[in-house]
């Protein structure tokens, strides 16, 4: 990776993640990345949990959803002169070591955006069987909505160049923002690649993250996205 770590802005959207966020952010700061925490109106003490950590902190006064939080983070990152923008989950599922590799693959492939994938060779994941099956079905549904077929359509870890980030005008606040990001890549003709990343499912992230039953809600949001975009 040739990029200066401080020019890489890692967006961490969070909602009631006070229990784990400090640990997640500390690991990112050790890598000397610029970190933008977007607190989506948490009711816990997220702000206090970040005390003493040199990060940009933004707070939505009302809970809008992960898609909206990512866009808010992107806008701040662009304003602060980011060369690369990364979206990273707050719950500790993602590994900070993957960021460097993803930016490196963006540079070497001259691509605009790289999507993390749990299902490419080399990626390690301990996702439960049912979750794997749902994710594999979701990629085809996402393809119908977005126009591009990824091996892992709902992975929140992605890195993009400043140019790609400036085109990410996300309007889907909730679960269908993944499909919209892919759709924006498709519409703007951005060059995309996938990169194998490691995801760790802990008891905490299983409890906090997207539940299997939420797939129905995601499908519903996707249909509405397709109708109303």
């Amino acid at each position: 990776m040739n990029a200066e770590p401080a020019s890489i802005f890692v967006i961490v959207p969070c909602y009631n993640e006070a229990a784990v966020i400090r640990h997640t952010i500390e690991k990112l700061l050790q890598k000397r990345y610029s970190v933008v925490v977007v607190d989506d109106a948490s009711a816990d003490h997220t702000r206090d949990a970040l005390a003493g950590l040199p990060v940009y902190y933004l707070r939505h006064e009302s809970n809008l959803g992960q898609g909206a939080a990512i866009r808010t983070g992107i806008e701040l990152a662009l304003e602060k002169g980011a060369a690369y923008v990364v979206s990273f989950d707050a719950d500790g599922q993602h590994h900070e070591d993957d960021i460097e590799k993803m930016i490196g693959s963006l540079e070497s492939n001259d691509a605009d955006i790289v999507f993390g994938s749990r299902f490419l060779t080399g990626a390690e994941t301990n996702a439960p069987f049912l979750r794997r099956m749902i994710l594999k079905t979701a990629r085809f549904i996402n393809y119908l909505a977005s126009g591009i077929l990824l091996s892992d359509a709902n992975n929140g870890l992605r890195a993009m160049t400043r140019n790609a980030a400036s085109k990410m005008k996300i309007t889907e606040n909730r679960s269908s923002h993944n499909a919209q990001i892919q759709n924006l890549v498709h519409r703007h003709g951005l060059k995309y690649i996938e990169y194998p990343v490691n995801i760790s499912y802990s008891e905490y992230s299983r409890g906090k993250g997207v539940r299997n039953i939420s797939s129905i809600r995601i499908l519903y949001d996707l249909i509405l996205f397709k109708i109303f975009r």
């Binding site: 400090r22 977007v38 003490h45 206090d48 949990a49 970040l50 005390a51 003493g52 950590l53 040199p54 990060v55 940009y56 902190y57 933004l58 707070r59 939505h60 006064e61 009302s62 809008l64 909206a68 866009r71 808010t72 806008e75 701040l76 304003e79 309007t171 606040n173 509405l224 109303f228």
Partner: protein, 114 residues
Amino acid sequence: MVPIQIVLISAVVFLAFYMYLRLRSGLVDAILIFLACGVAVFFIISPDTTTSLAQKLGVKRGINLVFYFITLFFFFLILKLYSRLRRLENKFTEMVRQNSLEKAEKLDKAEKSE
């Protein structure tokens, strides 16, 4: 004229005036509202007309035809309302976003953890 017809006609006329005054509609909207009101009053006064119209369209009873059209109308209304809701949500999101960007803070290393 039977009592129910009087009740229905009064309700339709009242609703038409209420919509006109409340929405402060333009001329085209006003014409459409009063046209719809006129059609409704006509079908209330002469309910058999709906049956003969229905039979021309291949539906047995007039009430079924009215039910089909009402279903379609409500579906259209839901889509329109949802579309308006999304526009409002987008505006609200943008306001919340601009507010959070204006108040963005760079936390300090010296700040004490609680």
